[in-house]
């Protein structure tokens, strides 16, 4: 167990076998509840590498082969909640697991969000599946959640956070437009905020640019293609002002000030 101040809970060495306890739909996504007996409590923003215990492989183009990275939504009493979006063979396989099915898990990995310094008020900004790491973080530090989705079907997941204000691309629920419209409005009213954001690269880049312009600190939970999740392969690098950093080791949460852009080649769908 780590103190709330630490951004990294150390993981047990190796992968371990968890068990799926439930798999339910939330709008366009699936929530997977996984028993992780003896697993340590992760810090919000950290992630796990997951693979099905059986039949990991044999999907489209004979994949998956490597484990896949997933933030946790919430972690309580050695039970982890994951939220999945089916975008390819790995997420498809995981999304079909049911109660009793085994799941390899390694983690928690990487570093989580840093608590607001100097009394700034937190605002959480999520896009699509990017709402996941905000769940546990909001439980800890509170703050409103500004959430963008493609459509009403996806926006159903907004219910997983508290105090959510929603924007949709198609205007079917909430504000019609990008979630950064909501953020711009919010920052107009509360310029002393600190922004915690997670979402697709284009959204993160818009958040980064907006915060840079307004001089507001921001922490971005980013994505990139990963093979190992623990710094072994050097495959997940993203460019920062100080050179490439391994996102699985020095992220996935990066300080927006360290980035020239949040657009990472090969990330996103």
């Amino acid at each position: 167990m780590s103190s709330a101040a630490s951004r990294r809970t150390v993981a047990p060495f190796g992968r371990r076998l968890g068990a799926v306890e439930a798999n339910r739909a939330v709008g366009a996504y699936r929530v997977l509840e996984v028993a992780d007996p003896g697993g340590p409590a992760p810090r919000p923003g950290q992630f796990y590498m997951l693979a099905a215990h059986e039949r990991w492989g044999g999907g489209e183009a004979e994949r998956p082969f490597l484990p896949r990275a997933f933030s946790f939504l919430r972690a309580t009493d050695e039970r982890l909640e994951f939220l999945l979006e089916d975008v390819g063979p790995g997420t498809r396989r995981l999304a079909e697991l049911g109660p009793g099915d085994g799941l390899w898990l390694t983690g928690p990995l990487g570093i989580g969000f840093a608590a607001p310094e100097d009394g700034r008020a937190a605002v959480l900004v999520g896009g699509g599946i990017g709402i996941v790491p905000l769940g546990g973080w909001q439980d800890e530090i509170g703050g409103p959640a500004l959430l963008g989705f493609r459509s009403a079907e996806h926006a159903a997941a907004a219910g997983l956070l508290a105090h959510a204000e929603v924007a949709t691309d198609d205007g079917s629920v909430g504000h019609h437009g990008p979630v950064t419209d909501l953020l711009a409005e919010f920052l107009g009213a509360s310029p002393d905020a600190v922004v915690y954001a997670c979402g697709p690269p284009a959204m993160l880049e818009a958040v980064r640019a907006l915060c840079a312009e307004r001089g507001v600190p921001a922490q971005l939970a980013m994505e990139s293609g990963m093979a190992c999740g623990f710094g072994a392969c050097f495959g997940c690098v993203v460019p920062t002002r100080h050179g490439y950093v391994r996102l699985c080791l020095d992220g996935p949460v990066l300080d927006a000030a360290d980035l020239e852009t949040a657009l990472v080649a090969g990330a996103g769908h």
Partner: protein, 306 residues
Amino acid sequence: MIDFCGIELAHPIVNGSGTFDAIAARRTFGEALLANFPFAAFVSKTVTLEPRQGNPPPRLWEQAAGLLNSIGLPNRGLEGYLEHDLPELAALPVPLIVNVMGFTREEVGQLVQAFALRDEVAALELNVSCPNVESGLIMGADPGETAALLEHVRPLTSKPLIVKLTPNATDVGAVAAAAEAAGANAVSLVNTLRGMALHPRTGEPWLGGGTGGVSGSAVRAIALAQVKEVAARVAIPIVGMGGVQRGADAAELLRTGAALVAVGTESFRDPDAGGRVARELADLLSERSEVAPETRSDKAPKTGVR
């Protein structure tokens, strides 16, 4: 215990260079990593004379039963390695093998010379086979080039020199024989096979580096064939690798002529893959010696389990 080029190892499983960063793993897994260190020796990622950023992302492509990577040998360079990495790696509970690569014979010589002085270093592995960086192909694909390199660096150290062969060669056996004749103490193979993938939408090369190298299960049969070819040509010990996932895969490489086996890509799927493979291998070997000694090969590996 196993004797490999005079180095005592607890079991025959090591890591493939560049597939396990013990320093990063210690940050992630804490001291439990040291208490359960998966490898009998640690092979560090390729070090070059100058620091390298590595290739632009994306660096990874998942292929059928394997991985295509184009990492581009990012590292702190010799000085940075000596200052930052070496002290931390020297604290590992196992011997350290340093993998080096130079863009000229002279550069390799400088690297070898620098490590020759360091007691923390048990052996050196010469990467003459990296498919991502031009010179790798040139030095390790040709027996004459390999011999010339060894002749240059051999006098510079008394530490064991392991030549890491490239599989992208017409005749790996001939390259291995040339390395042996010029004084190499061991050879290791296979490095990754040259490969390429296209972006599914744009049709442009997916990898930032253009082409990359294939590893993992997909290459296991190819690796086994190359180890066999090399075993037929050299008497020095062989570090076999390529697609090892289970103890049984390691046993096959040992049987085919390897003295040690390295686990690479499988560590990405299971951080403790090295430890698991070592345990599975030990179980297999003890099962076999109990149940059916007559089914074991009479071709003993070049360096045996004592």
